[in-house]
Every structure is written in C-alpha cells, then in structure tokens.
C-alpha cells in the first residue's frame, strides 16, 4: 500500500501545521515557561493541584462525553433514513441540518432562550443555565457533523451485506446492530471523535448557554490569558488540552488499525424509494425532527429579523445599508457577505488540499506512524485560539511570514480548525477502498500520483464534499480569529452581528437578527454550489 501513495503528500499538511501551528505554539510555550519570571514549577503544581482546576477538567470531560452521546443518539437514526431512502427535498433537509454550524453562539442562545427559556415557547420547561441546555446546544451544533459523515459513508455500504444477514435470519434490527453498525464504526467513531473534541474545547456554548456557573478548560485558558494575564497558567492548561487530545486520538487510531475494507458502491444504487407505510413514517419522522430541531431555532431568528413592534417589516434589513452614525468602521452587508465568502472559499480550498493530503499521509503510514500522525492532525481542533493567537503574534512577525496583521491569517486560522473535518470525513472512505483497485490502476500504467487522482480522489469525492461543506461552514461562522486579526475593513457577517449586539437599542438587535438570517441564507447557497461543484465526481460518487 505504502508504495502506491507518493511521499510528497505527507509533506503538505506537515509543513502547514509546522509553520502555522507548531512554530507559534512552541513560541508561546517557550516564552511562557522560560522567559517569564513568574513561572516556577510551584505555580504549575498550584494550578494542577487546585481543586477548582480538577473540577473544571472533570467537568470538561464528562460534559463532552454526554454531549457526544446525545448527538450520536439524535443523528444516527436520521443518518439511517438519509442513507437508505430516496425522497424529495432530501438535499434541502441535509443543508438545513448543517446551517446551525455557522450561527454565532450568542445568536443561537437567543433562539434557544426563546424556545426553552423561562418565558420560552415550550411551557413548563426551563433549561436556562442548566446542563440540559449545554447538551442540547452541543447536539444542535454538532448534529450535522455526525449526520453528514455517517451518511456519506453509509451510502457506500453494499446492501448485499445486509441482505446476506437477513437471509441468515437476522431481523432488520439485528442486521443493523450486528452488520451495519460494525461496518459503519469507522465513520461513527470518526464523527464522534470530532464532536467530542469539539465539545471538549467548547467555549461559547458553555459561557453563554451554560451561564456563569460552568467552566471548561478552554474557558479557563481564555480567562487566564486574556483577563488575568497569566500566560504560563494558560500555557499549562493549553498543553494539558493538547496532551488530552493527543492521548485520546492515539488510543482511537490504535483501535482503528484494522478497518474492514469493502468495494464501495455507487451511492445512488443503495437508495430505496419509500414504499411501505412504516417507511413513510420513518422518513416523515426524521424530516420532522430535523425541521423542528435545526430549523425551529433558526426560524425564530428569521421571524425576529422581520418583525418590528409586532408588525412585519423590512426596516432592519433596510437599515443595514445605512451608516447611521457615519462610522469609519461601517461595513455594508454586501461587503460583509463578500468578505465572508472570500474567507469561506479560501478556507475551503486550503482545508481540502491540506485535509486530503493529511488523510493520505495517515493512510500511507498506516502501520508505522499513523498513531502519531493522526492525532497530530487533530490537535488544532482542540487548541485554545487565544494561546495560538498569542503564539502567532510573537513568532510569525517578520517577512516573509509576517502574518500578525495579514488578511491571510484568517483563512489560515480557519483552515487549522477546518481541515480536521476533511480528514475525518475522508479517512473512513479511503481506508475502505480495496487495495486491489489501486493495484489495478498501477498495473494499467498509472504512476502513483495518477492512481491517487483517478482512483482515490473520485471515490472520495462525496466525502470530500462533506468535508468541504464543513470547512466552508466553519469559516463562515467563525469570528474569533477574524476579530483577533485586526483588519476592521475585513469584517465578516459574524463580526457584524457581534458589533450590532455590542450596543443597546432595538435597531441594533434587529439588524443583528437580519445579518444572522442573511448568514444562514448565504450558507445555504454556499452548500448548494459546493454540492453542485464536484470536479472529480463520476456517476454516483
């Protein structure tokens, strides 16, 4: 296997990570541990020993675990329906399910409050500032991660396998648990690990939806770094976070060593039309759930953006085009959208290239370094943005890599968080491609790079699309890095939302809702184009 994958592909992600991730991190750690007099082993031990910190660590871990399980429980049944049946509007539903990913937490919080808060629509339930709210919000955000990654893998499974099981007397349920589920395991664990790491380093959801009573390691790092100026403390915690992720991923890759391979099937063939009433109920139930769960909160936002003092009004949208206070920092909606799209597309391109190469690097070294490489590629996902941001300030400060104030830093920062999604969506698929396909291509005269281009790439097209959608979404919704990066004229939609929410006044709130609605709209359109644009895809792939 190894010989059929060119060495060079491993270098791209490694260089990328080395320059934009490890170098800055090393810089900040070095600075924290060796140059600041504040640091001594004692203060480290203080931090580690403090009951509060242990509490935080424990909380961080278990809330992530529960959130992941809840997300899986909600998303897997939907993935089943999506991967099995063919029905109208499926693409649209899938798109809707992914949109929550872009919404700034503060906006989602408002929506959730409207539904599940003290004065919420759902009477009798008040989840405000409870664990329940955190779990729900995490599930809301990550639902589509599990849904997309498993669905894209699921549609590869040959129906023959389950047919064989049913011929051997397995009921549909048993077939699912003893055949389908084990075969799906790579995709499920891949998405679960993403969700876990995401919840593990959750920031906004905890702070905003959980209220002040909850704190994760990530929140603590932010507090230490940005408010207490305790860089060594933040660095220690970041290091802890990194080690945790690494250890987790390491165990995971060890468990993933032996992935069963099977010839992938063109997706369209495995789709069944809805025939029986039961199937009808199942599909309807799934669609209704996704509409309620994902669309409900989002619809609330759109409604808010369109209602002024109890009446339908476009005032908020109109107002967006006026620079009322003549501010130098006014960004027109068109500008915000185009900035967002620019970053989104740049991130998408970068993340796909880096992510796909990373997946190959892992595959190529399956038997040797995979257990190191794979975790390494996941680290950026769980590294505190503040720590990394400060690292970049002190390291990437000279030409040709003066990124401190460069616009390039935004897509690069976004890519750091987005490409693990590409890796995780692509990896289960490429590792299940039978080696004989690559061998056949090689024997037909394809040099390794062409094998890669003509065999692997097309077969993974669908998975790449799934990853690309996430990269794009991630970039559209992210604002931490965009804020951190200084250039006010490069404001994106989430930044605009944030700015509006920074001042009291009904117009501010309304405009924030209007931009949020536009953000959702733009995201949906983006998906539409990404799904259309499948340069490598053949047939059902």
């Amino acid at each position: 296997m190894e010989s059929l994958i060119p060495w060079g592909v491993a270098l791209i992600p490694l260089i990328f990570l080395g320059v934009f991730y490890f170098y800055p991190l090393a810089g900040i750690f070095f600075r924290s541990f060796f140059q600041e007099q504040v640091f001594s082993l004692a203060s480290f031990l203080d931090l580690a020993g403090s009951r509060r910190i242990t509490g935080i660590v424990w909380f961080t871990l278990w809330q992530a675990g529960v959130s992941t399980l809840l997300t899986l429980a909600l998303a897997l049944p939907c993935a089943y329906v999506m991967a099995t049946y063919r029905f109208r509007g499926k693409k649209l539903i899938m798109t809707l399910a992914t949109i929550p990913f872009v919404l700034p937490t503060i906006v989602v919080a408002a929506a959730f409050q409207a539904l599940l808060g003290a004065n919420g629509l759902v009477k009798g339930i008040n989840l405000e500032h409870t664990m329940g709210m955190i779990f729900l919000a995490h599930a809301f955000y990550n639902f589509s991660v599990v849904l997309r990654i498993t669905t894209s893998f699921w549609s590869f499974l040959q129906s023959q396998m389950s047919e064989a099981a049913s011929m051997l007397g397995a009921t549909p349920a048993r077939t699912f648990f003893s055949v389908t589920l084990p075969l799906l395991r790579p995709a499920i664990t891949a998405s679960a690990i993403l969700v876990f790491i995401f919840c593990f380093s959750s920031f906004g959801v905890i702070l905003i939806l959980g209220g002040a009573g909850f704190s994760t390691v990530e929140v603590e790092i932010y507090r230490q770094a940005a408010h207490l100026f305790n860089l060594p403390g933040a660095a220690v915690l970041s290091l802890f976070q990194i080690c945790c992720t690494f250890a987790m991923m390491w165990v995971y890759t060890l468990l993933q060593r032996k992935v069963p391979t099977f010839t992938p099937q063109a997706a369209t063939l495995s789709l069944k039309p809805v025939k029986t009433i039961n199937e009808g109920f199942m599909v309807a139930g799934c669609v209704a759930f996704i509409l309620l769960f994902c669309l409900g909160p989002m619809a609330a936002l759109v409604v808010k953006s369109l209602v002024l003092e109890g009446h339908f009004s476009l005032a908020f949208y109109r107002e967006l085009f006026h620079n009322t206070s003549g501010s130098l920092f006014y960004v027109s909606p068109v500008r915000a959208i185009s900035n967002s799209l620019m970053f989104g597309v740049a991130t998408l391109a970068l993340a796909v290239v880096v992510g796909v190469c990373a997946a190959f690097a892992i595959l190529r070294n399956r038997h040797r370094f995979a257990s190191i490489l794979d975790p390494i590629f996941m680290l950026p996902l769980s590294t505190s943005a503040v720590t990394l941001g400060f690292g970049i300030i002190i390291t990437l400060d000279r030409p040709p890599l003066n990124l401190r104030t460069s616009v390039m830093l935004v897509p690069i920062a976004h890519t750091l968080v987005a490409f693990p999604f590409v890796v995780r969506s692509v990896l289960p698929v490429i590792s299940s491609i039978p080696q004989s396909l690559r061998e056949a291509a090689a024997l037909l005269g394809a040099v390794p790079s062409r094998v890669w281009f003509h065999v692997d790439l097309p077969i993974m097209a669908r998975a790449i699309t799934a990853g690309a959608v996430f990269a794009f979404t991630m970039s559209l919704g992210e604002f931490g890095a965009t804020l951190f990066i200084a250039r006010p004229e490069m404001a994106t939609m989430p930044v605009a939302i944030y700015r509006f929410l920074g001042q009291p006044g009904i117009m501010n709130y309304g405009q924030a809702m209007a931009v949020s609605s536009m953000l959702m709209g733009v995201t949906a359109m983006g998906f539409f184009f990404i799904e259309r644009f499948r340069p490598f895809g053949h047939g059902g792939f």
Partner: protein, 362 residues
C-alpha cells in the same frame, strides 16, 4: 406436491434486462439447477425467490401458501451470494456462526455446528482468520458453509463452486450432494458449469434472456434439447441445413445422407443437429465403404481436454463441426484429413417450429 413454486414471475432488472413470465416448480427435496448464459437473470430470479426483490408480477409459493408478504429474514431460506458477501468485520468462525446466533442457538451448539461446517469445506484451522486473509476459493467455501450452517428450509446457491479447483469442486460437490440429499433439503442452485449441473441436479432449468427454455433431467436435456437456444447453450454447434427424403427414410444434406436410428423426421424438418459425442474417427477405407452417417474434412483445431479431446473439423465446403473424442482414439494432427462416422443415435432434427426432435421421446 410442489414444495416451492415460482409462478409467472415478471421482473424488470435495472434499466436493462427483464424476467418474463418465469414459472418453476420445485419438488420437496429436489435439487434444481439454473443454467444459463451470463446475464440471463439467474441471480435476479434467486433474489426474487429469496424475497430480496419484489417481482413486478407473479407469485412465490412455499409449501402451498404465498410467501410474498413474508420478509426474507423470516423465510428461513439460505442463500449464498455470487460475490459471497462475507462480513468483513467478523472472522471466519463468526461469519459461519451468524445464522445460528440469529436463531439464538446455545454457544455449544453453535461451536459444534460451525466446526462441522468448517470441516465440510476443508477449512478446519481457519476459524480465527479474517475474511481478507483468505484466497478467493477459500472465501467461497466460507460463504457456502455460512449458508448451510443454520439448516435452512430451502437453499439457494449462486455459483457455489465457481472459483474452486476441480478436485475441491468435485469433493465439495459430492459432499454437498450428500448433505443435501441426506437432509432432503430443497435446493436451487445456479451454475455456469454444465458438468456441475449435470452431476448435481435432479432437474436442470435452462434460462436465456430472462426466459425459461427447458426444464428437464440432465440426461434428457443433453440428449433431447427442446430448441436451438438450449442446444446452443449446451454448446451443440453442428448444424447442417438439408431436406427430408421421406421415401428413403433419410435426410439429405450437402455433407451426404443421414439416417436416424428409428425416428423419421417430419417432412418440414429442415436442419440437422449432430450431437458432439456422435462422431468417431475411422480409417479412410472404412469411411469410403459407408454411404451414410459419415463426415470428412480437415482438422482445424485440437483441444486436449483430459478425458476427451475436442476435435474441430472443417469440411470441404467450409462448414465447421466440433466433436468430443475419447482420448484413446488415434487422432490426426492439425491440418490433416480426418474421416468420421456419425452414430445414428446422435442425430436431431430441427422443425420449422424451432423445436428439436430426436429419435425417441420428446
């Protein structure tokens, strides 16, 4: 009574083929073999029988009742898939044990049965291996074992011995027949190998292009193919156009006169088929003595096939005939002249209705 009946099944397959009005009745304990060219719909028919596909029309009846409404997993039918469909996440043992587990058998029972099946397919020590550590033939054997393990009421085998070597195939075929006969389990199996079909089947169903051409016992089928499609499929290519001479009780062709054993062809018979085993080489002088049932030409090709040699002959008027000759006969070399006498037993006549008539029966 018929144990299992496929009645007037119609089914379109993808955008391309179709099963048209297929009726097939299988008796209890009978072994029926579906034989037909690649792509004729054999697998599809099995899938309909298994309940994996719903036919567009027709009925599937088991032990007197329609089972169209019963889902595959409650039919207790066994099916071995053409591409095996082994579970890649289970080892060999667990693959074979799957059906028994589904029946909630006890651990000990499962162990015993799986071990027994592994022995049957000659893979005693392979239980703990992973599916991708097996060679092609080994996989096939595992698939076979997995199908038979839960003792199904009806067994369907899609090319069960397709990629095995002859020795193993013969052994397995004998064992398979033995087991199937013993348990008297009704079996439908698909093969592309005539010999296998002939050896294992009680009756053979010849299919071409989604249609049943003939259902018959192996010998009857071989000696009395009902129509050209069947003859064609059986590899009978020795067809001569000619005319019946009712007065002399013979058939006149450019190759000479042919006189059948007993049966006189009707006046409208217009083609003669010579079965491939009907020829044997004779010395030139003997040949000249004969006035009928003889052929001569040059050897175009000789295919040595172990227990026989396939002799391809080109006559003076460029017609090509192929015959199977037992190995002990002295055979001319490629390019040399060859003189053949034709056994009157091996003559069949093709009527205007497209049906073949032999000497006896049919």
């Amino acid at each position: 009574m018929d144990e299992f009946v496929l009645s007037h099944i119609c089914k379109s397959m993808g955008a391309y083929g179709a099963l048209t009005d297929i009726t097939l009745a299988v008796h209890r304990g009978e072994r029926i073999c579906l034989l037909g060219p690649s792509g004729c719909g054999k697998t599809t028919l099995l899938r309909v029988a298994a309940g994996l596909e719903q036919p567009d029309a027709g009925d599937v009846i088991f032990q007197g009742g329609s089972i169209m409404k019963i889902p595959p997993h409650r039919r207790n039918f066994g099916m071995m898939f053409q591409d095996f469909a082994l579970f890649p996440h289970r080892n060999i043992f667990d693959n074979i044990a799957f059906g028994l587990e589904m029946k909630k058998e006890k651990k000990a029972v499962i162990n015993r049965r799986v071990t027994q099946m592994l022995e049957l397919v000659n893979l005693e020590d392979y239980g703990h291996r992973r599916v991708d550590e097996l060679s092609g033939g080994e996989r096939q054997r595992v698939a076979l074992a997995r199908t038979l393990a839960p003792s199904p009421d009806l067994v369907m085998l899609d090319e069960p011995l397709g990629s095995l070597d002859r020795l193993l195939r013969e052994r397995l075929l004998a064992d398979l027949c033995h087991i199937l006969t013993q348990t008297r389990v009704t079996t439908i199996f698909v093969t592309h190998d005539q010999n296998e079909a002939f050896a294992a089947a009680d009756r053979i169903c010849i299919m071409t292009q989604g249609q049943v051409q003939q259902i018959d016992t192996p010998e009857h089928l071989y000696n009395h193919p009902e129509n050209l499609a069947v003859a064609d499929f059986l590899g009978f290519q020795n067809l001569i156009a000619g005319a019946v001479d009712s007065d002399h009780g013979c058939f006149l062709t450019p190759q000479g006169r042919f006189v059948p054993d007993a049966f006189l062809p009707e006046a409208n018979a217009c083609d003669l088929l010579i079965l491939p085993w009907a020829a044997s080489p004779i010395p030139e002088h003997e040949w000249f003595k004969r006035t009928e049932n003889r052929l001569s030409g040059r050897v175009l090709d000789l295919f040595f096939q172990g227990s026989m040699t396939r002799l391809v002959v080109k006559t003076a008027d460029d017609q090509v005939f192929a015959f199977d000759i037992p190995p002990r006969k002295k055979l001319p070399r490629q390019g040399e002249a060859v003189f053949l006498k034709i056994c009157s037993d091996g003559l069949r006549f093709l009527g205007k209705d497209g049906r073949l008539k032999g000497n006896k029966g049919s």
